[in-house]
Structures are given as C-alpha cells and as structure tokens.
Amino acid sequence: MKGGSGAVLNKSMEKNYEGSFHIVGGDFSRAGEASTELKSILQSLGIEKEIVRRASIATFEAEMNIIIYATAGILRYVITPEEIRIIAEDMGPGIEDIELAMQEGYSTAPEWVREMGWGSGMGLPNMKKNSDEFYIDSVVGEGTRVEMVIRRQIFSEGRSNDH
C-alpha cells in the first residue's frame, strides 16, 4: 500500500481525492480500519509524514467516538493539494454540553469502555489539537458532526499543537 514515489506525488497534485467509510457503532473489532486505510491513502499520495500523523490521529479518534457512542456514522475525507478535510457524522446520542466534552479528561463513556483504555476524555481534545480547523455540531438525540481540516503546507517549528 505504501507509495510515495515522485510519479505518485505529481499525480496527487492534479486532482482531489475523496472517499468515505461507513462505521458501525459498537463494532470494536473493526476499530481503526477506516483510519488505517486513510493513512495508507495519504502515504501513497506522498503526503508529508507529520501531516499524515496528525490526520491519522484525528481520524482514529473520530472513528472511535462513532464506535463507542453512536449507532452508525460516516467518515468522509477530501484531499486537495492544500488540505485534508475529514468529516465525521453520526447517528448517536449527541453531546449535551460541547464545552464540557471538549475538556481533557471529561468523558461519558461507560465503565467497560474505560477498562479497554478508551473513554479517557482525550478524544475530542486530540482531534482539535491535531487539526488546523475544528468544527463540532451536535443535536441531542440525533447525532454529532465533526469537521476537521489539516493544512498541507509545512510551517516552521513555531506552530505548536501540543497544549
């Protein structure tokens, strides 16, 4: 799956790449499949390692949230020469207090999910940290929509996402 030759890189500049993954809520056995596949796609397009790393983390967290909380969801991605846009939309319980949910350490995950090492309240903060733009909308009883943009331009060390 791994690419990254010059030819592939040039090809990646010619057009946009789009796709989507259907995520089934509660299916922990397939957790990470969508993010791993997206990571392979990004690598095959020759996208810079650090950008791939950030996009993979953000996508994995979004995928996990659908699996942990929702009935079902869709993860969509659009890759352009400028950015990687990831949109996660689910049919789920929704988030009552988004501000609270964005706080590191806050989680509504059940005990058995926490025992697996998920539900530590780091998912949404991890998504935000690894994105250049982060939008979240949620309606209780209907679902949640997260949109993340990771820009492909490489900035100097000055930009910090680790706070």
Binding site: T36, K39, F60, M64, M116, G117, M122, G123, N126
Partner: protein
Amino acid sequence: MTIKELVEVLDAEVLTPELSLDLEVKGGYVSDLLSDVMAHAKEGDLWITLQTHLNIVAVASLKSVSGIVVVNNRRPGAETLKKAVEEGIPILTTPHTSFEIAGRLYQFLNAEKV
C-alpha cells in the same frame, strides 16, 4: 537495539513467532490509555501496557511502534494475536510490571547510546 535483543532483557515470551524481531526499538512508551498512546507514542517506540484487547494492534499499527510488551503475565487472546501478525506488530508478554520493564528498557537503550 532490536526487539530480538530485548526479549531476554525483559524476560519476555514472544507471542507472535511468525513475525520478525529485527525491528529497531528507538524508545519506549508506557500507557494503558489508548488515546494517550495515540497522542504521545513515537514511531519505533516499544509500547508497554497491560491492555490485551484487539484495539491495541490498531493503535500500535497507526503509530508505527516497533512492538507491544504486555506486562503482569497478561496474555492477549487469539484474535488479538492474529490481528497482530496480519499488521506486523510483534507482541511479547512478561511477568514483570510496567515499572520494571520501563526501567530495564530505559537502562538498556541508554547504555547503548554511551
């Protein structure tokens, strides 16, 4: 230092004999919280954890860690090991605690640098 060289140091048993242990270990990370591992583990780290379920392989694979050491004599199930072989993530188990394993790994990696 490769995983192969560390097996004895960590008193470990290799649970994925199908896989090569020649991967280089560049560092280590100790955590049982998967989002924390996703946020902070580095490529080439040896991941020390007590988690044994299937998702550890996906996290390890996404982060390109060199391998997983499961501590306290815990043993991942067949499903986890099968996935690990598919993804090329070596899994070891050891009777020691995370503290002990991290200490040994730290000592050996640093001794190598001198």
